[in-house]
Amino acid sequence: MKISVSIAIALSLTVCLTSPGMAMYFPTDSCEYEIKGQILDVETEQPIPFATLLVEGTQKGVAADDQGAFVLDHLCEKEYNLIFSSVGYKTVKHHHDWHHGKIKIYLTPSVSTLESVVVEGEEVVGGLASVSLETMDRADLATKTTQSLASAISDISGVTLISTGTNVQLPVIHGLYGNRILIINNGVKHGFQNWGIDHAPEIDLTSANRIRVLKGAAGVQYGPEGLGGAVVVEGDPLLLSKKLYGNVATGYQSNGQGYHAQGQFGRGYEKFSYHVGAKHIRVGDRHAPNYMLTNSGMNELSANVGLRYHLPGWDFKVYYSYVQQELGLLRSSVAESGPLFIRSLAAEEPLFVREFSYQINEPKQTTTHHLANATVDWYTEVGKLSLLLSQQINHRDEFDVRRNANLPIIDLDLFTTQTLLTWDHTAFHGLEGRIGFQFFYQDNNNNPGTGTTPYIPNYNTYRGSAFVIESLQKNNTTYELGLRVDYEFNSVRGRELNQDLFRNTYDFTNVTGSLGMVHDFSQQLQLRVNVGSAWRAPNMAELYSFGQHRFKTQFGLWRYYADEEGRLRTDRVLTEEDGTSEYERGYKWINELALNKDGNQLTLTAYANLIDNFIFDRPIAVIGTIRGPMPVFIFDQTDALFLGTDLTYTREWNPNWESTLGVSYLWSQNLSKNEPLINQPPINTQAEVAWNMPAFFSLDRSKLTVQGVYTFQQFQAPRTIPPTQLISGEVVVTTDSEIFDFKDAPEGYFLGNVRWEWQRGALGGQLEVRNVFNTAYRDYLNQMRYFADDPGRNFLFSIQYKF
């Protein structure tokens, strides 16, 4: 612990001592700025040779080469308005800051009603290039507007989703999910009730301009908990000097008779820009191929607004977003009593099936989420200094089927405050990077009146962190190093069943690091290697959950213990003194080989992730209660190893035909007990063929995509013990017994999907059929697999007008 404190001091000293000295290494001749970029056709994404670039108000300009690339150097100012043009294309004006990296300019043919666009590159930040990264931009996201965040990114290899029914979906990266995946929304950690697998982040996909998925140890930059990786959601970039832009869209889906409408627009002036967006989506009861999934509807409303004010060298940004959700959970997933759980498990068809309805009854979740950010960026000679202040308010009510169904069984307010100060320093002896300080505060309160002992306690978490990530480029290799120190303090207040108060305070100090390398063997072949550590404090649900919620009776690590005979006991609240519940510590080693040659793109990823004190949720017993025998789940802790590989191969046969093949394989093991883990993603394979169809009728372009996905049965699932065998005493289980599940892992299944997108001027649309063959299947990672099939065939129509 002493070491970590010294490092923290050393870090702050580094900042104080080096900053004045560093200025010496920056150009004394101020005319050394340059702008690099490439000019492309928006439709074909092919370079436009010899397009021209002019600096507004000057005679300065340059022509691109035959690859559309240009370099404009010997510039004396840091900011310019640039004008890009080419014969047959619409001219576009762009306000450029020198600190933005390479820009891409997409020019639109003059005949089109669309405007040309400019995409700014990454800001100059090192340190994350060696982490396996996938990016989805607005065009990718536009085909997925009605999907959840997790579902939208689940096409990425190595990424899948774990769900509780149709409305609650969380991303899984390389077998890890829940709060082992950091969700970063507009620069800050999304502050929500992130526990269990029945709470999804309240983020509207249409508010995102770009989503980046980091599959390595991203914790050094983004904070603890990112053992599996991070999902980084970025809002509109609020570009200056931009004509009014935006879109309106609406759509319908047959399964659930869902409809949605959304709109967004923005405009950039010389010094000021804004962006506004809103969406509403409503879906009724979904249906599986053979029956209705009663109470699986949802209703979501969201809005967001971003403002930017620009002064030379300064940027001021404000962002606000609001999301309101009402999410139904499958009615048949409620089992207040063991006998009903047993009958539900055995039933061919869910026990509660009703006619279609938009009505959302219990069990359901309602949440509202406010996010407000203010950012100040200051561009100086020594780099960019950035201060971000953020406040989030998350209110969540959950309703169960019970006698007092009108009362929420969970009623929580969560306040999250974050302050982030970062310095992206300019190159120093070839070293580029970011130094940052972060303060995180979270206050969780139970609202009275639930008529039940709080499932998770009130708590306050304070965390102070310092980090540094640096990268150094030597020839064809970039080396990266990251280091982070966190100190976290928790204060907890809860109630026991007899309403006696319990209190606890505890803290953690941690050092994490990452080491990476990117090596370019040639223009076509690149290798990334990253080794990183990450840590995570057990969350409140993992420590303190107590009681029954939906079909589970669940006990946290500090709410149960085993007596001398290995029998479960729950009569007292434990503390850190009892020696259970160490924090999780993960070490992830990830290697990625990328080949891009002659229309072949091959990405091969191999990783190993060792997690000490891995916390997981597992069935443990069936106990006798006044309601009859009840299934009981506990949080358990062990050392676990995850080994896996992802392969993606894309082949462009010709400009119109493209095919993609993907395979994800993960092997995981409980090392302490040498047995399988539970709820781990099975092997997944997918194949896709896309055809860019020639113009026909009056369509400018259209694209047909056919996709087949086969998900294997989870061969690594725990053994099955039906609850009846536990009740009859046929099988006796203690806390030391081998892990089991109440039901077999579902069989493998094949899903077919077809999508047709078209564009005619500013008007575009798509027609999609998901689960074309109306396959009846259950997904191993859907908690509802105990009770019902997943949804059947779904036709989705949408139409969009873009301006």
Partner: protein
Amino acid sequence: MSMLNSAKKYGLYTLLLGGALLASCDTEDPEPENEVEVFTDVTLIFTNNADASDVVRASAQDPDGTGVQELVIEDEITLTAGATYTLTFEILNALDADDVEDLGDEILEEDNEHQFFFQFTDGAFSNPAGNGNFDDASEGVNYNDQDENDHNVGLSTEWTAGDAQTGSSFRVRLQHQPDVKTGSTGVNDGDTDFDLDFVLNIQ
């Protein structure tokens, strides 16, 4: 220990830096809740219709509710052959010994969502005959009370003990049937509030 303290101290400095930005940092205690869902004690009360002082009580207890402590059936039911009894219930939540709650009233208030079902050794009673209404909800139990829709509830039922026997069984189950209960819903519809199996003796 001193190492820990110094780490805490430096940590707290960091926190104070950021903490200055916060409006409030107070830690509130959660309010005590009235557990409305948990039954800990269920007592069956058989009162002899001919002699109000002849009362037979049989209890079952699960003192920690949702905790893992097993349910205990504390008493056997011993009735007099040929006597007619009215069966009523005492249903308590005694998780908090200082604030014991009677849930019988709540069930009465929501009687259109609740029904008691019974199963017993065939012929244990001369009236009702048979083995109860687990297998067929429509017959086999003498209900004294009905809800607003004229469907049986079972907070009060009538029983005439049959011939002398020992070690027979008497099982009672309270089903919670919100939006489900009709005249024909049975023991497997809705969800179980309690399900208790007593030993029945008749002498």
